[in-house]
């Protein structure tokens, strides 16, 4: 749950003393986007991956090809980033289309 707790904290920035409310790590955590990751496998034809990306995300052919090559060479690729609900929805669509996909929160 997001929280902004009033903390009295004194820090120095150069010669200036700053004192006031500080956001906790929890509050920052909720603002991080969720990433949809597609994982490589040795059997899926490359053209199939491109077609699925184009159909699900509506990306250009060039972008889909770049993402497919990233999956192929790096073992995984970040294909979409944003709100958690949409990330889950895209992940499900990719899995239904037969690609290995997961979501993770941005580090």
């Amino acid at each position: 749950m997001p929280s902004t707790q009033p903390l009295r904290r004194t820090t120095t920035e150069g010669d200036v003393q700053i004192e006031g409310d500080v956001q906790t790590d929890d509050a920052v955590e909720t603002k991080k986007p969720w990433n949809v990751i597609v994982w490589n496998d040795p059997v899926t034809p490359m053209t199939v991956v491109v077609v699925i990306f184009r159909k699900i995300f509506g990306y250009s052919n060039n972008k889909c090809t770049q993402l497919m090559m990233a999956v192929h060479h790096e073992g995984r690729a970040l294909v979409w980033s944003g709100h958690r609900e949409r990330a889950e929805s895209y992940c499900v669509k990719l899995q239904v289309a037969g690609l290995q996909s997961t979501i993770e929160q941005d580090a």
């Binding site: 496998d41 040795p42 059997v43 899926t44 034809p45 053209t47 199939v48 491109v50 077609v51 699925i52 184009r54 159909k55 889950e88 929805s89 992940c91 499900v92 669509k93 899995q95 239904v96 289309a97 037969g98 690609l99 290995q100 997961t102 979501i103 993770e104 929160q105």
Partner: protein, 144 residues
């Protein structure tokens, strides 16, 4: 040679399927297995169809899991219903593609074909099956 293509996108938008009895039996079996695996937790492909959405959690969002299960089953049902058709509309061709891809990846996962080396070491029968599904997918993908 254009005449030997298994899947051809026609001018009216439909996808024509020119497949012999063996080809039809392969795709029929693949579609039936996906449908059975989605419904039967004991099916050997079931695990590959129910992989985690968010691996950092013990349990995924049940709504997302239900959506995945429903969509996969619906696709496999429509693919099975149209397996003997000579012409497919766009939606039917899409469910053929996705269901064949699900079958291919499930086959690979179930048989431990997770790397190029493992795939290369697979027996001839398994390799032949994988290559058959891959070639069907390759041709069908060219229609989109």
């Amino acid at each position: 040679m254009a005449g030997s293509k298994i899947f051809t996108r026609r001018r009216d938008g439909r996808v024509e399927v020119r497949m012999n009895d063996y080809g039809r039996s392969v795709v029929r079996s693949a579609f039936a297995n996906v449908l059975a695996a989605e419904r039967d937790p004991e099916h050997e492909w079931h695990v590959s169809l129910s992989g985690p959405i968010d691996p950092s959690l013990d349990h995924d969002n049940p709504i997302s899991m239900l959506a995945r299960q429903t969509e996969t089953s619906t696709n496999a049902e429509l693919a099975s219903l149209t397996v003997d058709e000579q012409f497919l509309n766009d939606a039917e061709a899409w469910v053929w593609l996705t269901t064949l891809q699900v079958a291919l990846r499930s086959t690979a996962q179930t048989n431990g074909l997770l790397t190029d080396e493992q795939l290369g070491a697979a027996d001839d029968e398994m390799l032949s099956y994988v290559r058959t599904i891959q070639s069907l997918l390759f041709e069908l993908a060219a229609c989109f």
